[in-house]
Symmetry: C2
Subunit: 180 residues, 2 copies
């Protein structure tokens, strides 16, 4: 009963990562960072050559743009500059994770898609067929979940690969637990 | 931003394992074996010294005994022999996984508890505080789930550690998909 481990192929872990929703917090969300740290510490460990991390950031086209604006009036030029700013923010987010992977010595890929995060993540699972999907979660209670929805619950049900949800630890929760 | 991996401590993975419900099939359920194989191939890989597997088998006190009997009449002695037989079956199940771990070279522990599997698994997570819980799943549709309940769904919601559900692959499903 010899166990066969596919020698050549690495374990490919897809991670859905998001920006922080906390104002003035320019980086990865608390739960995305938590999920990344957990994956490195508990799964990858020092066996860096056996794993490849795939970072997917999904931008929501409408919501993202107006969050920080005082007015909803906008010219086509405003939209264009918003879109560029969004794109820059998304790239900055991915850069954070890619840089950390380089420091640790684990190979990675990263890309941005637009759409509904839960739908896009499940679609990308179908397309890239990772061995495992890791998503962070705010760990909200049932009452809060009704209003904000949770990407992780949807992915656990619908993604076509094993899914692991890493809950944000209680001591890292911001003042408003819906923020991240 | 140096990544700290706790040098001394291994990643402890708790696996809930069950016997096959298929008649004349004396061993581990298809989904338990699938979850074990996946964990070794995709997570542990050749880094065997960095992981410890903890096998928990939960026996349901009432249901187990009568499955293979032609009659429901039983004396106290019958009950005793049933209980012994159950215990032997449970040990045999754990022996299967322990033997495979020894062959692979990954350290492990195994134990049996009585009770409702989903409740006991979550209780044991609280007690032994593993880094990760892995449970197999038959991958039933919503209609079948209503009648059989699923341990994995309960654990994803209630276990106090990250949980990974490994669905049985479609080509391994027995004639009756509720069997395992």
């Amino acid at each position: 009963m010899e166990m066969e481990i596919e020698g050549g192929s690495v374990t490919r872990i897809l991670m859905g990562v998001s920006e922080s929703t906390i104002k003035g917090h320019p980086h990865a969300s608390i739960s995305s960072r938590g999920a990344f740290d957990w994956t490195i510490q508990k799964i990858v460990r020092y066996n860096t050559s056996a794993f490849k991390l795939l970072f997917l950031h999904v931008q929501v086209p409408d919501e993202d743009g107006f969050d920080d604006m005082d007015s909803i009036y906008a010219s086509p030029e405003d939209f264009k500059s918003l879109m560029n700013r969004d794109r820059a923010k998304g790239l900055h987010l991915l850069e954070y994770f890619v840089t950390r992977c380089h420091e640790i010595g684990v190979s990675c890929e990263a890309w941005i898609k637009k759409g509904d995060p839960k739908e896009v993540i499940c679609h990308e699972v179908k397309r890239v067929q990772p061995d495992l999907l890791v998503v962070g979660s705010r760990g909200l209670g049932p009452f809060q979940r009704v209003f904000v929805g949770t990407v992780s619950e949807f992915c656990v049900k619908h993604a076509e690969c094993p899914v692991i949800t890493i809950k944000r630890s209680a001591d890292e929760a911001p003042q408003d637990p819906v923020d991240d």
